[in-house]
């Protein structure tokens, strides 16, 4: 692995703080600021405690950073940010952005984002990224000065290209289908998981009602009293256990969400390819038509129907000097066009090559991460069942003593 930033410095998003300030329209707003801490790794090996640098950033600055990366590295699958608003909530979770649990999960997501960028062989070398981590003041201005917003492709242009491109690379078409499928299946999965979690919560919590009734009932019983009372206690334990179980599951959901958003990043790369390919095709088409025009003027034959041809027939032909001048202009344009086409072709081939390299890297990362996530989910389920076995073994003992 190349020398990634992640090997040289340790990055953490360690805290979150509520702030109030004034926004662009001079209205008061509340937002959360996150503390980014960085520390050089090398000096730690020498047994010295290296100093920690830190600065505060808010979510919108992370967004700005990511947009910059998207435009500057269109051939890279750029890691996604954690969700802007709480989605896929089930009844116990709050949809409020200020909710402490949501803020905590977002903090983890932002840290994850920075680590992903820092361990990417290409992205980690970017200066703007480095300054994001180290330079508190003036960073926004620095980013805007790069003028990256101007380089951004318009959505309309991209959409147009998607519909009209004739010969995109088959691999990218397949990749686009894959990312659509991935997005649809993961969001379906997350939605159902949220409903399952809701129901599971219900089952566990209702058992808690046993605790109170058993306790009250045990008061009037002589022989059954002890058994009932202690069984009730176990029912309370059972009901309470679901909170921790579901909290852990939220982390699993967040891991899946990351790949839900990664699907969008994949699609962005495909769109860029389509755009470049479309540009290329348009340029080639333009060149061909100019060459044809040139030929027609030179030989005097009109092979294709054109408005110009018709008007010249109606209003008389041009004289030889005019024709010569036109041909010269066209020949210049053709030469320019051919050079442009060559460089566009080169660009296109480079893009495909480097994009595909990153896509392969991404695929490996995705397979590894998802497999691990599935395994950890299975481990969670096993642990939940083990807890269940313990509680019900205890309850069974109490019941048999009734």
């Amino acid at each position: 692995m190349e020398d990634c930033l992640s090997k040289k410095i340790e990055i953490t998003v360690s805290e979150a703080e509520k702030r109030t300030g004034r926004n662009a329209m001079n209205m008061q707003e509340t937002y959360t600021a996150y503390l980014i801490e960085t520390r050089a790794v090398e000096s730690q090996n020498e047994g010295q405690c290296s100093p920690v640098d830190s600065l505060w950033r808010r979510y919108s600055e992370f967004e700005l950073l990511r947009n910059y990366l998207l435009v500057t590295f269109p051939h890279i699958v750029v890691p996604p940010l954690p969700e802007k608003r709480a989605d896929f909530v089930w009844h116990k979770l709050s949809a409020d952005n200020m909710d402490p649990d949501f803020v905590e999960r977002r903090r983890i997501g932002l840290e994850n984002f920075l680590l992903r960028v820092a361990s990417h062989p290409v992205l980690c070398q970017d200066n703007i990224f480095y300054s994001f981590l180290t330079q508190e003041g003036g960073w926004k201005e620095m980013v805007n000065e790069t003028g990256f917003q101007l380089k951004a492709d318009s959505r309309l242009k991209a959409l147009n290209a998607t519909f009209r491109v004739k010969n995109p690379d088959k691999r990218f078409t397949e990749l686009k289908h894959y990312s659509d499928e991935l997005q649809s299946v993961i969001s379906h999965l997350l939605r159902v998981r949220a409903r399952v979690a809701d129901r599971l919560y219900g089952v566990y919590k209702v058992h808690g009602n046993y605790g109170r009734v058993f306790s009250e009932w045990s008061a009037i019983e002589k022989e059954m009293g002890d058994g009932l009372q202690s069984a009730g206690h176990h029912m309370d334990v059972y009901a309470a256990s679901i909170d921790d179980i579901l909290e852990e599951e939220e982390h699993y959901a967040d891991q899946l969400k990351e790949y839900l958003f990664y699907a969008e990043a994949l699609r962005a790369v495909c769109r860029k390819h389509e755009l470049m390919q479309y540009d290329l095709e348009m340029a080639a088409q333009d060149l061909t038509s100019k060459k044809q025009q040139c030929e027609e003027l030179a030989t005097g034959t009109v092979r294709t129907f054109s408005l110009k041809g018709m008007t010249s027939k109606l209003f008389g032909q041009e004289n030889p000097e005019q024709r010569e001048a036109k041909i010269k202009v066209l020949e210049e344009q053709i030469q320019e066009g051919e050079e442009q086409l060559k460089s566009k072709n080169l660009e296109g081939r480079d893009f495909v090559k480097s994009a595909w390299a990153d896509i392969e890297r991404f695929k490996e990362q995705k397979n590894h991460d998802l497999k691990e996530a599935l395994i950890s989910y299975a481990v969670m389920q096993i642990s939940m069942c083990k807890k269940g076995i313990q509680v019900w073994t205890n309850a069974k003992e109490c019941f048999s003593k009734m």
């Binding site: 299946v185 009250e216 069942c385 073994t393």
Partner: protein
Amino acid sequence: DASLAEANSFSPSMPTSPSSMINQYKFEEEPELRDLFITVDDPESHITAIETFITYRVVTKTSRSEFDSSEYEVRRRYQDFLWLKSKLEEAHPTLIIPPLPEKFIMKGMVERFNDEFIETRRKALHKFLNRIADHPTLTFNEDFKIFLTAQAWELSSHKKQGPGLLSRMGQTVRAVASSVRGGVKNRPEMFTEMNDYMETFSQKINVLDKIAHRIYKEEREYFNEMKEYGPIHTLWSASEEDIADSLKGVASCIDKCCKATEKRMAGLSENLLPIIHEYVLYSEILMGVLKRRDLIQGELDSKVDALASKRAEKDAITEEIGKLEDKVECANNALKADWERWKQNMQYDMRSAFTNVAENNLHYYEE
């Protein structure tokens, strides 16, 4: 006085120590020593011009000498069971007669006789007859014998004898009225304790009934969502290569969890729910029994009062009082004994029902 004679089978002269009770209880439990076996099955629908109803087949096998034959097969409808229950209540006002399943189901009644309803009722009727057979006193009741053995026409002619429905209703109405009149003055403390116990027990068992039903409902909703959860993973595996197997693995595990949940739900609906429901009905029955005991005592008390004011008829009244005192004593003892028996049974039933639930949950998590 037939009712007294039968109550005397558990007469006060017999030692009623707890240990002898337990022996009695064990005796009933051992199947080899049972001499009366009853099954209720084969529901059949009958359609007449006036009504549609269901009959159940009641098969009895016995080695008792009082029975002319060793095997009987008859058909009975729900009405017949109701008749038997009220005859038993009449004959043994302070014994705890087992509950019958309810007449109608409260909610969601689309068809009066859907299969699930009929099966639940059949099981409950089967339990009803067997509990009577196991009861040391009720098992020898004459009406019970007729119920098990008589052909349809014999039963209907027998039913027409004896006090009508109205007089029986009157008895219960009087019982309620007398308790409304501010309770019984000389109620022995034991029965006041019973009353207090039953009030609390009744409350708690009703709450338990609601909780158990709620748990069943939540488990069912959970099951419904889980059914959708597994297939999504299979769908996903179709788009993947490397992780396809892992995804398919997760899908099959989730499906297994689904099946385990189904088993767990079945355990609840077959075991815990019916038993709790039975005891909800029992608590109503017991309140009725206690009221009837109070009524009997009330009769005694009013005669005692009458004695105080009517010295002339002293002897006659004294004799009546003597009889009533016996009656009260028998009623009290019958109830006492039956109460102990009921509590033992209840304890046993609750213990096994909840232990069963715990075991089911264990199996569920193990799977």
